[in-house]
């Protein structure tokens, strides 16, 4: 079942890629159909999910791959991966609906996006480090081609920068994986076995170096300050669906790596260096918010708020490693908040990037000053953008509030001075309100004249994402029930 979830988009991508005679309309609809099936599959997985208990997996499958180096095709889900698998399917389905209006080589784009979806699902389902790396690296290749082939502006250069940076990150990650393997006894790449019996527990130097390699790799992907410089150009020049997937799903691979790999497999080193992670998280939060405040370009602004929002996640997982003089419950709340923030940010930012894509589609610019009074011209756009902005700044009633509340409740209880990051929320609120004011209210001027309101396909791609964020904000229990046991297990593992 889980393998079907991962392989189906791959097969669909191969079929689309190998059928040059297929009409565009059929290709677009085929993509929507497959992504719909994927959503149904992941929903079935969720309904059939029972908490497997700490360090166990549900829907587990294992086939030997390279037994000589202790690597296997091993997939499975737990409370950390299931929400992200679901998020992936939802965001990609929204993109499929959004792309129903795509005119530029829709068949190839659909094939590429399906391929990308398979790699993302693979990363979140993988329970073997080599398998994780395979999907992780392929997602970079897929995204690179998406930015280069369907982007605008200086797309080729941005794609190259994206590729170089994230490939560098992936190589650092690979080095860390090899280090974990070489230190494990018996030698294995299996994540479950490595978390069960963490290597390098009493070798602070080597453990620290291996953790450093992992942290660099994950920090590039997340991205955190100072490794975030590839993100704004990549977003600015990427097509709308590319941006939505990049921010909504790909960035989560980095933060997911923290809770899935770095924390359980190198607990001693994580505790030693937790304060560095906390500091990086705080800097990312503040730097991302302040730089976003200075942007005049809507897409760059949302990109920098991603650095800010991912900073909360990093802050929380860092705080979870500060064991001295704190209680496990607070740290558990922090990790839960981190996972919920990943899901929440994926939904909301995905929606915001799809909306930003509409601006470029209609008027060819993201410049906030080029518009004004859009609220009267395009009411549907205005409503959805406002909802998205308020959700993103953490308004109670949306999932972001739940996530950020938990992050801060857990982190401040553990490391009091992290309260300084609360300023990030303030700045984010200010910048979103200012952006809404510039775009939506006042006289109709500039590019707003003749701006066409959202088409049904655009509404139906964005609205469900925001609706989900609202539902999770009001009824978070189903999600928390899945995440909390897994977060508790991670905190337990780090405490060893």
């Amino acid at each position: 079942m889980l393998s079907v979830l991962v392989v189906l988009p791959l097969v669909a991508a191969a079929v689309l890629a190998a059928a040059p005679a297929l009409p565009d309309r059929a290709a677009r609809r085929g993509w929507v159909a497959v992504s719909g099936v994927e959503v149904a599959l992941v929903a079935a997985l969720w309904l059939g999910y029972e908490d497997p208990g700490p360090r166990r997996l549900a829907h587990e499958e294992q086939v030997p791959w390279i037994p000589g180096v202790g690597s296997s095709y091993h997939v499975g889900v737990d409370g950390l991966s299931l929400p992200l698998l679901a998020l992936t399917c939802v965001v990609f389905a929204a993109c499929a609906v959004h792309a129903l209006r795509e005119e530029r080589r829709p068949r190839v784009q659909a094939a590429l996006m399906l391929f990308l979806q398979a790699t993302c699902l693979g990363v979140f389902a993988a329970q073997d480090l080599v398998l994780f790396f395979v999907f992780f690296d392929l997602s970079i290749v897929g995204m690179d081609f998406l930015i280069a082939g369907w982007g605008h502006g200086d797309a080729a250069r941005s794609a190259l920068k994206f590729f170089l940076y994230t490939f560098l990150g992936s190589l650092a990650l690979l080095l860390g994986f090899i280090g974990l393997y070489a230190a494990s006894e018996p030698r294995t790449f299996d994540m479950v076995a490595l978390a069960q019996d963490p290597p390098l527990q009493d070798e602070p130097l080597v453990g620290g170096l291996v953790l450093a390699a992992l942290l660099v790799g994950l920090a590039v992907k997340t991205p955190t300050f100072p490794f975030h410089t590839w993100l704004p150009p990549a977003h600015t020049d990427a097509p709308a669906v590319g941006s939505a997937v990049l921010a909504g799903v790909l960035l989560k691979m980095g933060t997911y790596g923290f809770v899935r790999i770095a924390m359980p497999m190198l607990p001693a080193a994580w505790r030693d260096w937790a304060w560095v992670v906390v500091a990086v998280g705080v800097v990312s939060v503040l730097h991302g918010a302040l730089v976003a405040l200075a942007q005049t370009d809507l897409k760059r602004m949302v990109a920098y708020t991603s650095v800010n929002h991912m900073g909360y996640v990093v802050l929380a997982v860092g705080a979870a490693g500060v064991v001295a003089g704190s209680d496990a419950e607070a740290r558990e709340v922090a990790v839960t908040g981190a996972v919920v923030q990943m899901v929440s940010h994926g939904l909301i930012t995905g929606a915001l990037f799809l909306l930003a894509g509409t601006l470029h589609d209609r008027a060819g610019t993201y410049d906030l000053d080029a518009y004004g009074g859009l609220g009267t011209v395009a009411p549907r756009f205005a409503v959805l953008l406002s909802v998205g902005a308020f959700a993103s700044l953490g308004l109670p009633g949306f999932s972001g509030f739940i996530a950020e509340f938990q992050v801060f409740a857990g982190s401040v209880a553990t490391v009091p001075w992290t309260a300084v990051a609360l300023l990030g929320i303030l700045v984010t609120a200010a910048l979103f309100l200012r952006a809404l004011q510039r775009l939506l209210v006042g006289e109709v001027r500039g590019r707003s004249a003749g701006f066409r309101d959202l088409r049904p396909s655009e509404v139906w791609s964005v609205a469900p994402l925001l609706l989900l964020a609202l539902v999770l904000g009001i009824v978070p229990r189903p999600l928390l029930d899945v995440v909390e046991p897994a977060a508790g297990a991670v905190v337990g593992l780090v405490g060893r």
Partner: protein, 470 residues
Amino acid sequence: MEPLALLPEALLLGGALAALLAGSFLPRERQWVARLVAAAALLASSVASAVALAGPARTVFEGTYAVDTATGAARLVVALATLLVLGLGVDELAGDRQESEAYCLLLLSALGAVVVAGADDLLVLAVGFLLASIPLYALVGLARTPAAAEAALKTYLLGALFGITMLLGVTVLYGATGTTSYALLGERLPGAPDAAVALGAVAVVGGLMFKAGGVPGHFWVPDAAQGAGVAAAAFATTVPKVGALVAVLRLVDVLAPVAGVRLLVGLLAAAGMVLGNLAALGQTDPRRLLGWSTVAQVGYLLVPVAVVGRSDLAVPSLLLYLAAYAVTNLAAFAVVAALPARRDLAAYRGLAGARPGLAAALLVALLGLLGTPPTAVFAGKLTTATAAWDGGEPWLAVVVVVTTLLSLGYHLRWFVPAYRAGEPPERADRGAFVPRPRAAAAAAVAAVASVALGVAAGLAWAVADGPLVR
């Protein structure tokens, strides 16, 4: 029945002679018979090698030749790689004045590579070295252009120099231990004078670096890759390496007790990775770029050799990487062979729009050489770097990763223009790219095989996981 143990080698020799004889009696436009003979010999040899792989590991002819997993893998990779070279070179060689001679030389040089791989005695190694090298000089010079002549001369001079160096090493080792057999060498090394043994080891390993096309014996590789005919270039950058690296593996396995041998191999590996990748960065001719890239690949291939005997992963990871490297490098050369007139990276601009299939083969080959999963070279790089760390040389794993990042530059410079056309690909002119059909087919086969081998790396590993016999 010892002669039967060398059936794969005998088939290569028979094929070479039959191709030469057939060529002598055939009119110029009917030399395809010689091609058929050569291909049949290669196929038969690979089948015989596969059958022999299932048999027990042993030495034959008084312990001078090893028939074990490493030899079996080398036989198989050499035969199949030469078959691929035949496939990608047909368009170029068909109807050539010396078509059948080319086949004969290819098979003889392939035989030499196999003998070098299987040699369990310094003298057999020396003979294999000559058998692999002399046909290679002729192959490189076969194209009859000034560039080919220069490349052939360079190859010959370097080959002579390094061959003599190797013979000097053999002599010194014989003088110091009184034997040329690996098995006895291993026993007598502890009692032999250190300085003499170290000199001999350095000279023999260094001499083999010419055959491997690795630092410091690499100067002929970029010239041969650029100047020779495309089939000869593909062959020269692929097949000799297979033999040479297995030979270095056996030697290091024997000489490991000598102080500094492992470090020497590790340093040669690091030098190859750094120098090859840095030099490739500045190239604009795809063939010369590939030439430098193969110099770097020898560096990667030497990584597990440095830890042979210390990590159980060393031997299988080297053999897996060799197979992966051969098929991936040949895929890249096959694309070059399909578009022989394009001698500049910029000339590949818009290939993806015009010929999506060929562009995909190029993409797989280049991402493969880079080590992107799930291609075979990824499995090779992963397992060799893992073997290095496992064998107590984590710095080598770090060098592998860092230099891989370096190599990103030139791989991207090649396939990025191919995929980023200025105009929408619907309007890309198919007529602008007319590939040679059989080379394009060879590219497709090699690219598919490169991915398949990566996915089936576990199976390949199971085959390659066997002891070295002495």
